[in-house]
Symmetry: D2
C-alpha cells in the first residue's frame, strides 16, 4: 500500500498538484474555528487522507481518465463531452464526493464551497489550457475538504479530553 | 400526495421560509450560465422539487426534529448537541444532501456553496435566536440547490433540441 | 442527447448487456409489491433510466475504463488493481451508486442486494473470463435498481390518485 | 465523547439491539473472505464503529424519531407515514447510509444486502409489532455493514504488510 501512496503523490505532482499548495487551503477553511492551527498540522492531515486506500484508488482512476482524454484514447462521443468540460458531466463530482465523505459530513460542505469558489491551486487547474483536468480539480477539492474535516474532528476530540 | 405537498409548503412558511425568498437564490446560481432565466422559472423549479416525495418526507422529518428540540421533547444528551448546534453534528447535512442529490450531481456543489456562504434567507435562519433551525437551514440549501440543478438540466435539454 | 442515449445502449450491447436481460430482474424485485406488473413496464422503466444524462455519462465512463484496462492502456499500478479485481477497489461502486440514487433511496437497497447476490445477467458479467467488467457489473446493478425504484414510485402515485 | 458512546450503546439495548446479536452478522459477511476471523474481532469492530461521532449522532437521532413516533409526539401527516412504515419513506435509509459509508464503499453493498434479506436481529426488528422501528432497522444494518468493511480493510492492510 505504501507503494500506491507514493505513486499517488507522484501522479498528483506530475499533474501540477503539490501538497504544499493544498495545505494553505485546509488552513483557510479551519483557522476561523481553530485559532492555533499550524500549517504543519494541515500538511500532516493531507498525508493522512492520502493514506486511505479509497482516496488513492479514486485519485489514480480520475487522473487516468484525464490523461487518456488528453491522448485522445477515449472513444467518442464521451471524448467530446470530456474535452468540452460539459457543465452537466457530473461523473467527476460523483467520484470525488464519494471519496470526500470518508471523513464525515463536513467534507461535503467544504467540497461544494471549494468547487464553486475555486481558490488557489484549484482555480489554476480549472483554467489550465494545455491540459485536461476534468477529474483533477474535483479530486483536489475532495482531498482538501477531507483533510479539513479530519483536522476539525481531531481538534474536537482533543478539546473533549481536556474539558 | 398533493396533501403532503401543501402541508410541506405550509410548514416551511410556519418556520419562516417562503418560496419567494428561495427563488432569487436559484436565480443567482444559474443566471451566469442562462442569461434569459426568469424569476418565474425559478419559482416553478422550486415547486417541482417540492413535488418530489423524497423531498417532502425529508423536509417534514427535519422540521419535526427542530420543533421537538425547541419544545425540549428530545432526550439528553442529544438535546444539548442539537441546542448548541455542535459544529460536528452532521446528521442535518446527511439528510439534506441525500434529498438534494435527486436532481443530479451539480446539486451537491451548490449545496456546499450555499451552506458555507449562507446568502439571503439561509443566513437569516442560521442566526435566528428564538428558534432552533438545525435541520431547516440545510433543507433550504438542498431545495435551492436541487431547483438550480433542475433549471440547468432543463435548459441544456432545450438547447440540445434547438441545435 | 438522443445520440448519446442510442450510443449508451449500443455500448451496453457490445459488452453483452441487453435491456431484455435486465427487465426480468426489475420484475423480480418489484412483482412482490405490485402484483399486476408487466415485463413491458419494466422494459420501459429501464429505457426511462437510460434517458437520464447522468446515467449515460456514468455508463460510458465506466465502460471506457473497463475497455482501456482490457487493452492495457491504463498505467501501473492502477492496471493491476483493476485486472485483479481487488476486492477493496470501490470506485466502481461509488460511480454506480452515485447514478443509482437518482430515483430516490430505495435504489441503494436494491443496488446492494443485486451487487451481493448477482442474479442472472449480473452473475454472468462477474464470472466472464475473457473480459474485464470491473465497472460494468455495478453499472448494470445501478440501472436495474433505479428502474425498480421508478416502477415503485410510479405505481404508488397511481394508487394515490385512485384512492 | 465517551459519555455519548456509552449512552448510544445503552439506547440500542433499550430498543432490543445488543452488540452480541450484531457480531455474528459481521462474521457471516466476512468469514468467506477471511477464514481465520474470530467473533471477538467482529465485536471489537462494532465497538470501533460506535466510537465514531457521526455514528453516535445518527443512531441517537434515528432512535429519537422512532420513540417520538411511538409516543405520538410527531405531527400529522408525518406521523401516519411513519406509523404505516410507508415503503416509499426513504429518510431512514438516507440517514443510515450516510453514516454507513464512513468505512468506505463496501459498506453500501452490505448495507443494501442486509436491508433486503433481513437476517437475525434485523428481521426481528422489522416484524416487531409493539414498537416503531422505522429508523432502527436501517441503523443496525449500517452498523453491521460498517463493521464488516472495517474488518475487510484491516485484514487487507495486514496481508499487505506480510507479503
Ligand atoms: Ca471537474
Ligand atoms: Ca444545520
Ligand atoms: Ca465491480
Ligand atoms: Ca426502516
Amino acid at each position: 500500500m505504501r507503494v500506491i501512496k507514493e505513486h499517488t503523490i507522484k501522479k498528483l505532482q506530475q499533474r501540477g498538484v503539490f501538497i504544499e499548495d493544498m495545505a494553505p487551503l485546509v488552513m483557510q477553511l479551519q483557522r476561523p474555528y481553530i485559532p492555533g492551527l499550524t500549517l504543519q498540522e494541515c500538511l500532516e492531515s493531507i498525508l493522512a487522507v492520502l493514506n486511505k486506500r479509497d482516496f488513492q484508488h479514486t485519485i489514480l482512476t480520475g487522473i487516468a481518465i484525464d490523461e487518456l482524454a488528453e491522448k485522445n484514447l477515449i472513444e467518442e462521443p464521451l471524448l467530446s463531452v470530456l474535452k468540452n468540460d460539459d457543465g452537466l458531466y457530473g461523473v467527476d463530482e460523483i467520484l470525488a464526493l464519494g471519496a470526500g465523505t470518508l471523513y464525515g459530513t463536513i467534507g461535503s460542505t467544504n467540497f461544494g464551497f471549494l468547487d464553486k469558489t475555486k481558490p488557489g491551486i484549484i482555480g489554476k487547474l480549472d483554467t489550465s489550457h494545455e491540459r485536461i483536468n476534468i477529474f483533477l480539480d474535483d479530486l483536489v477539492c475532495a482531498i482538501i475538504a477531507a483533510a479539513a474535516s479530519r483536522v476539525a474532528h481531531k481538534n474536537q476530540n482533543l478539546r473533549s479530553k481536556i474539558e
